[in-house]
Symmetry: C2
Subunit: 721 residues, 2 copies
Amino acid sequence: MDLWTLEKTGYDPESNLADGNRFLTANGYMGVRGTLSEAGREACPAVNLAGVYDRNGDKWREPVNAPHGLFLRAAFNGEIMALPERTSKRHSLCMDYRHGVFRRETDFGPVVLRSERIASLAQPHLLVERVALTFAESGTADITAGIRTDVWDINGPHLFDLHLKEGEPLACTAVTGEKGIQVAVAQAAARDFPAEERFFQNDTGVFRALRFPAEAGEIVTLTLFVAVFTGLDGSDPARAAEELVQEAKASDADSCFAANAAAWEGVWVRCAADIDGDDEGALALHASLYYLNSIAPRHTDRLSIPARGLSGQTYKGAVFWDSEIFLFPLFVHTQPEVARSLLRYRIDGLPGAREKAAEYGYRGAFYAWESQEGGREGCTDFNVVDVFTHRPVRTYFRDKQIHISADIAFAMAQYYEITGDLSLLEAGGAEVILECARFYLSRMSRRFDRAEADLWDVIGPDEYHERVSNNAFTNAMVRYCLKSALQLKEVFADRPEYLAALTKQLRYEKEWALLPEAVRALRGPRIRDGIVEQFDGYFELEDCTLDQVRSRLRDPREYWGGDHGVAGITQIIKQADVIALMALFPQDFTDEQIAANWAWYEPRTEHGSSLSACMYALTACRIGQPDRAWDLFMKTAAIDLVGGGKQWAGEIYIGGTHPASNGGAWMIAALGFAGLRIRGGVIELNPRLPKQIDRLRFRLTVNGAGYEVIVTHDGYVVQVV
Amino acid sequence: MDLWTLEKTGYDPESNLADGNRFLTANGYMGVRGTLSEAGREACPAVNLAGVYDRNGDKWREPVNAPHGLFLRAAFNGEIMALPERTSKRHSLCMDYRHGVFRRETDFGPVVLRSERIASLAQPHLLVERVALTFAESGTADITAGIRTDVWDINGPHLFDLHLKEGEPLACTAVTGEKGIQVAVAQAAARDFPAEERFFQNDTGVFRALRFPAEAGEIVTLTLFVAVFTGLDGSDPARAAEELVQEAKASDADSCFAANAAAWEGVWVRCAADIDGDDEGALALHASLYYLNSIAPRHTDRLSIPARGLSGQTYKGAVFWDSEIFLFPLFVHTQPEVARSLLRYRIDGLPGAREKAAEYGYRGAFYAWESQEGGREGCTDFNVVDVFTHRPVRTYFRDKQIHISADIAFAMAQYYEITGDLSLLEAGGAEVILECARFYLSRMSRRFDRAEADLWDVIGPDEYHERVSNNAFTNAMVRYCLKSALQLKEVFADRPEYLAALTKQLRYEKEWALLPEAVRALRGPRIRDGIVEQFDGYFELEDCTLDQVRSRLRDPREYWGGDHGVAGITQIIKQADVIALMALFPQDFTDEQIAANWAWYEPRTEHGSSLSACMYALTACRIGQPDRAWDLFMKTAAIDLVGGGKQWAGEIYIGGTHPASNGGAWMIAALGFAGLRIRGGVIELNPRLPKQIDRLRFRLTVNGAGYEVIVTHDGYVVQVV
């Protein structure tokens, strides 16, 4: 079994959506959905751009898909050699996770078509697809290749004022509707065979048409070099795109593939992780690391990662708390510069977070629940469509999921704790923590006749229960945020002038005075028989089973949450909530406490979010039950390899890759199975290997130095690499 | 036109439900739905008992319907003379509002059946129905009369362990399922004709069968005397019932009818109100006064009035804020002893209100939203059924409609202000006010960095918007409650020892200290361009028309409210809310303010509750627009005369009579058109007669003395009667 490769044979048009995710090639700048070269819009192809957003009318703002420059379609003796029009004799897809290469092979009978595609990790603007045709018969062959402008969008169109250029290279420019951002795509083609070439354009794009005689047994190769630039990259994206494809063509395909492979090897030096003993687990972990690393921002130092990566426009291409809680750990432990980029993105978003707080009548920084460019809130008041009335449903994710600010402050503080690097706090991180704390000071309230403070009317990680009070997770995260603000005094003990200046700039005197009392006053959860109550009144909700709740559905696509959903009025929860709290603050709980809460909450958890299994697995390791964690690890790590997962919330498509699960897989392996914890630059390990694993290896970067950790059932080794 | 009589001709089985309400006979102890003597369960007959509740299993607790002792069915020559089995040549119903007599006349051809029915206002346990048969042909007549035990219930059955007694009088006893309360019914019959009489019983009850020869032109009369007693009335209700019917039969029907008429005349001496100039208006006002007075508790001094009166089991027979805000004004101005009974009921409910507050983690008294016996909360967490999924919908009436306690405190304070009678405050009223204030002290909260206090997460009068914050109406009522608590110090200035004892008993020292600051801190509403914002964020909701909202319904029975309803997410409101505030506190607003808010809110109001039009009418009078108030007055006053109104909320039946509208009609006439206000025993009038009214007359009781007020367009007269 190849531990780095996913293979799939046979053709099934029903799996186009899932395959588009599974065979994704991406490089942080863009993601190319794993659809076939010849695919039309019905297969949902996309070249999804990171950090470029557009809004059409009053539809949801979403990331822009560029014109698709990898379109290619072949014919032989006038017959189309393309799926789904022609039945194939044999068809296989392959994803090479090691180097991010998507390969395809289809035997149409007279012609066998093989291709390999990369989104170059060495050159973020470059896509390369090499297509080889092997002829079983002699005849006349045609290849059409070009840039498709009939872009698939969920809430589009986004591209207007198209200009198409025929000739070598093909080129296309357009501007986005909302802000007039230029998007430029160029395509150059190299071939090892003579052909008549003509150029044309129509409603669907600009193309080259090649015609050539083919002989039985002959193999011809055509390589498409595609470049994408936008107005956010420079002043003349069209020229940059044309220049890049000409350069790439000149340097040839092999060197492009080699440079990409070398770049990937550079990533693996930093963050490889391997499992010996279970091949499926090893492959799933590799897949997770591929999916997550392929969408990590490396071309910029201030971008984060959307909840469905670069696999499409799902969830509006927005950045959620996933980034800080589920993606950040991998990066901060292996590639701190990427972790830093995720947090720089939040520092840049501070003005937007202040605006959002003010919009709701609060002070400080209330971060966007679904953060788009510049921290702009992409979340609306209506995020689900009712399957019976087809009306949008009011949800409270935007206004009540207040733990987001604390999650960000948590990651800021963790970045410093793990890396010992003060520069991020100085570069705005401290300000973020203080402003988040200020938000909570204005959000917390005290009853008139009480000393305790409450956080009323929130949503915790378990989104099925909207508008609850004193969510245990939220209160704990907020308390940590308030403490982190206070601890800045110690962190900057050597530089009091820095904090004094910040205090003055933020007019923070009153907040410094309130913080200690706020930490004391904020309520802890009710605990009954050792079980932490998820929120006030949770124990009084109907206690029923997942199956009972499921049996009440009248439509399989019904949304389970909110007061109208089947789960929202019961003790059934969507995802880890109290258990997420215990996973993030293990030091605050004994093994017995965690075990008791695990036993209570796990059967009541739908795991309806990819953020759930990871938290249960981490806590299972903590209480010495890594074998229970193993299944959750596999569920987490294999999520995008297998495909599937929830595709719908009400009538809204929510499919795509699952970066949080990808990050979660690493967390289970490193933080769970190996029990990794870094404090003050010291690597601590407390292994809890499940029986399926003989040996676990993973790389780390600590204080700028690379390490490899090797854990077996007999012990562990940490060595410099 | 008879200004005291409703007449209806023709038979339509579809209107059985509506007629049951329109032709209600009631006397405060019980209400007999206006169904025909021969009606079976399908016509929804009921003898609805005030204050007797029962719960069957986990269904909703509701008031008990007694076995129906007025059943009567005739036949002639073997043919049934009853509706709907036999088509009538002529059929008419008539309600005499002056004396509470329901008359019926049906010409079946060979037989004309005439009846008149009273629920005696002179003897609360007594029902009398006199039935006359006029024969057009000679032949053999049969009459079956008896006590039907196949009682119509919404959430029944409630009666078990039935014992039936044949013979004169017929008798039936049963016990309720939950608490074993005895319910006894007896029926005696007097007749002016000889007949064979035999007795029998079956699954549907116990009966007498009369057979007699009839001659053409002959008229025979049978009078049924029915008595109802329960275990709450005494130790031997069965015996009491039998004795009463025998006494009544001995004293004869005429004297029963005469005593009832005299009792009604006694009511009219106290509270008659008449309109000259518009006959329909006059009739509608009489109807309203009849419906409300017929269900007023007079047989006891500690009962209130359910939201649908004694017209059935709708709304669980529960007492709402309607009692204090919409019914109380008529009674406190005309029959203070009834007003006192309504409030005594609340004083008795104080322990239940304390329990409810504690259940939610608060202190003081949080009154039941749907109050049943002893103030017990009848409201559940699920009060609507979704029409698409048929699942119960979580509503927040029970937990968030916190203004109820302030409404009760308001009425307590008003009772003292209007009557000058301190005894009710001494008898528990002061304690109620203090405990309600204590509840709000524990319900109000302050953000950590602010001096202002909020009332988060409430529902105001407009129930379509659930879980809002700083509802203007609620905050104003709460502030009045807090002030009323403080003002008790002045009220009892002469008796400091009383308040000292109460303070000690209630351990109220801390609360006395907090009250002044609480009054200062509690937030007022945001005001934009003179418009009072109904709650925080209301102005940001979608601004659309009622028609737009209605057009979004996918099912006419859909519930409009909550986040899932078509109105709940827009500015469209169910009923007066800010305008209710202005109607209750007119002195706090200028005419200009009221006019501006009226113009803003009225087009946004569905008037989907019978509590709405009255508030708009009162404020229209206040701003000198009584002609606009007239239509609202007619809508309010004629509601039960016309029948109709909303019959369904989701899949829940909510029909019945509308005591709050009945009381509202009087409020519009007296408080609106006449501008009545009583302060310190002084009658103030500020008439705003609409053009439809030439002369308005109504009775008052002030300081134990009766007055008649006569208002014309030329002025007004107040005279002692």
